[in-house]
Symmetry: C2
Subunit: 490 residues, 2 copies
Amino acid sequence: MAKLTKRSVDYSQWYNELVIKADLAENSAVRGCMVIKPYGYAIWEKMQQELDRMFKETGHVNAYFPLFIPKSFFSKEASHVEGFAKECAVVTHYRLKNDPDGNGVIVDPEAKLEEELIVRPTSETIIWNTYKNWIQSYRDLPIKCNQWANVVRWEMRTRLFLRTAEFLWQEGHTAHETKQEAIEETETMIGVYAKFAEEFMGMPVLQGVKTASERFAGALETYTIEALMQDGKALQSGTSHFLGQNFAKAFDVKFANKEGTEDYVWATSWGVSTRLMGALVMAHSDDFGLVLPPKLAPIQVAIVPIYKSEEELNRISAVVAQIVDKLKQRGISVKFDDSDNRKPGWKFAQYELQGVPLRLAVGPRDIANNTVEVARRDTLSKEVVSIDGVDAYVADLLATIQENIYKKALDFRSENTTEVDTYEDFKEVLDKKGGFIMAHYSGSPEVEQRIKDETKATVRCIPLNGDKTPGKCMLTGEPSAQRVVFARAY
Amino acid sequence: MAKLTKRSVDYSQWYNELVIKADLAENSAVRGCMVIKPYGYAIWEKMQQELDRMFKETGHVNAYFPLFIPKSFFSKEASHVEGFAKECAVVTHYRLKNDPDGNGVIVDPEAKLEEELIVRPTSETIIWNTYKNWIQSYRDLPIKCNQWANVVRWEMRTRLFLRTAEFLWQEGHTAHETKQEAIEETETMIGVYAKFAEEFMGMPVLQGVKTASERFAGALETYTIEALMQDGKALQSGTSHFLGQNFAKAFDVKFANKEGTEDYVWATSWGVSTRLMGALVMAHSDDFGLVLPPKLAPIQVAIVPIYKSEEELNRISAVVAQIVDKLKQRGISVKFDDSDNRKPGWKFAQYELQGVPLRLAVGPRDIANNTVEVARRDTLSKEVVSIDGVDAYVADLLATIQENIYKKALDFRSENTTEVDTYEDFKEVLDKKGGFIMAHYSGSPEVEQRIKDETKATVRCIPLNGDKTPGKCMLTGEPSAQRVVFARAY
């Protein structure tokens, strides 16, 4: 197995190689569309399970809305069409026919749709057109639906997980009686995303709101969670949008309120996608391969037997069977890899590459001594422990690893978060170190655009928590209510 | 709430009304595409969970392949393109732009794709093009992937769940070293579907193979499960295909076998879809609404308080809280409906309509007597039982209901399965009674086609189990190896 490019040599190349070599995903024959391979999909399934549980615990239900959106729906919300029309897949025909010249099949010109259909890049329009029929009075509210689905945005430059033409995601779409309730929902959901990122992905995130230029097309306010990758670039990992009454007005969704008068419904939408897979890879992994947090690892423990004869293997297998049993009883996912076509060294490297949190090795000497070698993926450290009580030991260690991965990422973020007060310092820190830069700016779109043009850094968010001390714009000296987070971003 | 049309008056109308009124699904603004509403989706999620577990237990893993298929892929397998080209959604452009005449947005003629993309109607072609890179030697086999996905077939006449342009499904795609292994996989999976249909959906099915005319486009053999609906029509509920080496040859997927020579890989594919939702509705439900098997019911027990004052409600709620607690401890999903905007009678009708297997009613007299009224949805019978041990009573009763629903459907099928020996009898039974008709025929496509043209009945399957006595074709007198199942079908 050829080694990975080192992160220090070429971070971007390292990422691309790792996603392929760890069997997470690969490019398909269709431009910009990926194949998510079984190992990658197993991680995504674990993410889905936890998120789905959290959505249901916060009162949401799942539903499913059409893949296609009539073209005319798009134009109904002005900024929405502006944001999505330039990169969408358009269905124009509904039939192929045999090529009269004998070259396979061609599009049948007689099967042209009356109105073109857009493959959904996001579903606000089709969903609000549906909600119109579901909502008459305040008694029908709130509606809190989520859908797990595929969406398509015709991105020109794609990278596995981070930016693909088709991706998998969930999109929540809620409808409320009051502005206040909708804002609370928006905030609740960004909180759910932050909790998921930190507790399950082991990835610290900043919660904040976007500036107008970075808002979702059609939103009045976009909340975001921003994570810091190991190369010092930010990655937007989830967003929650307060949509005001924009979509209700576009699709004429009114309700009779408690006072008996009619009002437009208040809306939110929120989503995370397979982009989280890219964030997970980039947040924790190292030059040897993936480092997965135990809570999302499809295999938490791999056990490799070291043997020279079948007889040795049999003795080892008998002991391992008991360990496997005890680990499974604790709900730990474990794989005993007794395949005979690979050497232990190859297996060790493979589990390292695939980020399995713990690897146990058992040889004849271990059997004699009643011990097992336990190797941690996160610290690359090994220890020999007694087989008695190894299940409790492993359970504790998995919890420790989960914490350690988070702490390491948090420390990295602390080290790579810098407060600056002048534009000179800003540019210097950005070029020498990167990371999150906390700075004051006037809040004007012009200043924001100038900084972006000159440095490629953008305002990642105006943080919800932390230091709220006012100051002065690093460029213009104008007053600033609080520091915001700048970074170069994925 | 207006009553449902009775099944005996108009079965088709009854079905259409029930799907809408029970809040399972509705038509969307996009021709032929449905919205699966939260209650319907919750049932589908339960189906998915069980099926997914069964797939994993039989050694399969999930993955995800692109939504789009390049047009040229389609032509590579001759019968496949023949089967699907006539009803597919074709993406020809990747951008919209503002209409210069100011009428919203139009397709940008400059953003035409070099090669059109087909929205997948099924994924054999894109998957086998991918497998080509995954398979070099017999060590890479078998590959046993499943994907949960949406697919699109541009059906002209659509009905909610039964036939929609877009539907949700799972498609398994496996690759094998030998013909024998692939056939075994095909049979294993039709067995998994049969087990799911019978044990979870409470729906007896016949397992068999399709005749050539009803085979999947590209298969050498199609296995099917066929269920009988209450109107005497059959519904194909799941299929498993032995694809031979057709797709391996079309996409040039070879492997080095154990003997060191090259061979084409053997393939299977298998799928069930949201069509199962239609089957579930039609198999069990009655003139009052849905009848759901407890194992797939999102709400297994609904509890309705009967009260005149807040004080009464409080006393009832205190008692119900304990019942709810005990039921939840047994893993039973329960809803205490103390909403105050609807009367108990309305709630009773609503839970009846939505097929909740058990309804408990608790009033002041019950509290005084330490009793609760338990109403079964399947038999529409009621009983008053002691609150002590009601949780065990309910658990047992749910198991009984699951069995009873199956038994009722099985009895119905027995009563509506008829052996006939002459074409006269065949036509008479078909018109007077419908159902499954077990008859001999020559096996020739011409005879099959003639029967279809004259009676609209098709060979549903050549059963795998049951009577294998040879006989003579009811039309031609030619020899027949065994009776096959004829029926009119959805």
